[in-house]
């Protein structure tokens, strides 16, 4: 469950990095993070527990999405991150039960977007 634990640990850090979150929500994120970190560090994390932790983060993300003062782009990104964690968690449950390397395929790299060249500065006339 290594990767899913890492990703579950990552969620509160990403959430706390969203600019403009109220003090009340920041406190709630800290409380949930400290409550779950003990479980994550214990090494006895089970799938139902991991799913419950993820569900609590999804709940917090949903609450944040109702706050119009927060940047939409940040919340969209956190939602996608939650989806990635969920996908890994679902896969982990299957992978713990059966090894089948034929289901694992090599992945292609993503084209790196071209950098926008800097606008030349005119000096003098």
């Amino acid at each position: 469950m290594g990767i899913t634990v890492l990703l579950l640990n990552l969620l509160p850090m990403v959430l706390q990095a969203i600019p403009g979150i109220s003090a009340k929500m920041t406190q709630l994120i800290s409380d949930v993070a400290s409550g779950t970190s003990t479980l994550l560090k214990s090494g006895v994390l089970t799938h139902p527990t991991a799913s419950t932790i993820l569900a609590s983060w999804v709940g917090i993300i949903s609450t944040l999405q109702n706050d119009p003062s927060l940047p939409t782009t940040s919340l969209q990104a956190v939602t996608q991150l939650g989806k990635a964690v969920q996908a890994a968690l679902l896969q982990d449950e299957l992978a713990a039960r059966m090894v089948d390397w034929s289901t694992i395929r090599q992945m292609g790299l993503v084209p790196v977007p071209a950098l926008t060249p800097p606008t030349p500065i005119k000096i003098g006339s």
Binding site: G2, V14, Q80, A87, V99
Partner: protein, 138 residues
């Protein structure tokens, strides 16, 4: 009576000394194989999810995109994928491909390097964490 008592003591002693037996995961050749597969499978799912987001955003959110030969549905509400996270995503994909190659070789017996496999697992976990953190805005 003494015989029964002795048998009970022996039984309790035997149960008390029983070792925890780890049941091998079906399809695996042993624990290192099972762990490598699990790390690779989890990473594949997480990276596929992030890669789908990147490709959907890059193509301005069509209904579906083809990610590594498979059609994936785009989430029109996903928003832009941060360009700064693309190199980290590629590093994670490279780390994933390295583990897959080594894991398959270990599984079929071409390689016996369990330590190398473990190192590739750690490398992949760190790279996936960095890529997803960057994509999420951390």
């Amino acid at each position: 009576m003494k015989k029964i008592f002795a048998m009970l003591v022996l039984l309790v002693f035997t149960v008390g000394c029983a070792k925890t037996v780890t049941v091998p995961v079906p399809g695996s050749t042993g624990t290192p194989d099972a762990i490598a597969f699990r790390v690779a499978a989890d990473a594949q799912a997480a990276l596929n999810s992030i890669k789908t987001w990147e490709q959907c955003a890059d193509a301005q959110f069509p209904v579906t995109v083809v990610v590594d030969g498979n059609a994936q549905v785009c989430d029109p509400k996903a928003g832009p994928f941060p360009a700064s996270a693309v190199p980290l995503l590629n590093s994670a994909i490279t780390a994933y491909n390295d583990l897959v190659a080594a894991g398959k070789a270990f599984h079929d017996g071409t390689s016996t390097d369990a330590t190398g496999l473990q190192s590739l697992e750690t490398n992949l976990q760190n790279n996936v964490s960095a890529a997803i953190g960057a994509a999420g805005g951390k």
